[in-house]
Amino acid sequence: MAEFFDLVVIGAGPAGISAALTASDAGLHVAVVEEHFSPGGQVWRGADGPAARMWRRLPGVTAREASRFLTRFRHSDIRFFSQARAWEITSSGQVLVTDVNGNSFTLTSRKIVLATGAQERTVPFRGWTLPGVMTVGAGQILLKSSGVVPREPIWLAGQGPLIALYAVQLLAAGGSIAGILQTGAPVSWVRVLQTLPEAIWQCPGQIGKGLVRLAKIRLRRVRIFRDVEKIEALGSGKLEAVSFTDRKGITHHVDAAVLMVHEGLIPGVHPVLAAGGRLEWDETELCFRPILDEWGESTVPGLFVAGDAARIGGADAALYSGALAALRVAMQTGHAEEKALARKIRFHRKRFRQAMALRPLVTTLSRLRLEQLSPADDVMICRCESVNAGTICRASLTGSGMPDQVKAFTRTGMGACQGRQCALPLSVLLASTHNKSIAELGLFRVRAPFKPLKLGELASLSHESDIQ
């Protein structure tokens, strides 16, 4: 049986929870669909997990905010579908979902908010599929949700604020770090001077916290290598060593049990693409993001995107953008008038702008070198189907060189992750091979089901659901 809602929110992180609560407060009948077994997204992951007591003591966690929102969410009358995969959004506003037992059902909704969050930018390098290599985000989730830390020697590589955050959390949880390998483009100090005043003015606390983290890492005498290039993970069957070149061009070869990589966050765009929404290329953030109006409504009417899935801004920005989308939905569905909401709208807009004020400084301090995305021929681009860069380049020369065709020729992006990891590296690689702009190439097409679906799960859709 299809169930009817005023609003279906996909994703129960800060943006999704904030959107759901705001809409529910305005009197809308709301459902939230979440893949994970508990709400909170990756930021609040662990807040009500089995290691919650340890979690609350980790540096950088926002325990009070998490418990405030999660408690309100739990006590609301919002329908919460946890461990549920949304895999199709139809043009008539139906969301097709499969639960953990493999039963599929339809939620019919007047409006939809996608709050599916960010993902870590994939930057393939030699050996990145070896067990022992994982992302920094993965390491942080392991720690927060399960209280698990890596064995020494641990190397962290990449750029962006998450590395320093995880480093101090790992140190606080009894881990140690062999070294940090900083990649990325040289910092433009002119840009720093341009972006710093606004950041200090709007987010002094955040900058203070960042400096404290760096000082803590220094104090523990973690080795830091700057302007690192040519990182390789080595080992047979699992990671055993890491090699890299430092700023002087000297090649190092170090023992490693675990290598964690992080090259920044990008919006996860698969759901919005599958629903027919259009994307644009963001040259400063070096990622695709959905084209949205000031409320977060996409090019598909009635389909909103909020939080990091819309634009990377972190948890605070996500809370406000989620609320703004929900307020707009409340107006569109006739639950509130713009005049009555004017104060709330002004408040959330102002806070959203404040939260985003840090971002220009962050992207100035941590920016990808585009060459990092042009790996050698033998580097695997598509982990799922084991397709390397050389195969992709050769295949692209025999045809149009467009992502969809290369996907068909080589199976890049046809594996279990449905191209979530290789879509961007593929387009960047094709752009550089064919001297085209990434914006013009776009990403390959994404269709429903935008999460893998077993045939039995599809067959279990009830007949009354009447999909159009």
Partner: protein
């Protein structure tokens, strides 16, 4: 055998038992099954369809590198599954096992 992950000294004590490839493993109720695999397996927590060693990469449901057979269900993303007492976890190596839906299989089941 050296595993690459262990429990933080500040993590709460284990309170359940699960099976990993037939071996009993102590675990924490509600930790992710992927976390158990990481601190039980020496390196690979599974192998892809071409037989290459793999292990959880993203821990947030994106990469599908953590798939395993949990209580008989194949190809589930273990980073999204909370551990429960008595859970039976098997590493998935090579092509995903398909259920037996042949006529003989049906006949066998129906007696």
């Amino acid at each position: 055998m050296t595993v690459n992950f262990f429990r933080s000294p500040f993590a709460p004590p284990t309170n359940i038992r699960v099976m990993v490839d037939g071996q009993t493993v102590l675990a924490l109720a509600g930790e992710s099954v992927a976390a158990i695999l990481l601190r039980t397996c020496d390196g690979p927590t599974g192998h892809d369809h071409a037989g290459r060693p793999r292990a959880p990469y993203c821990m947030m449901g994106i990469c599908f590198e953590c798939v395993a057979i949990v209580d008989g269900a194949a190809s589930v993303r273990t980073c999204l599954i909370p551990a429960r007492d008595g859970m039976n976890i098997q590493r998935q190596n090579g092509p995903y096992p398909l259920p037996d839906i042949s006529c003989q299989g049906q006949a066998k089941r129906n007696g």
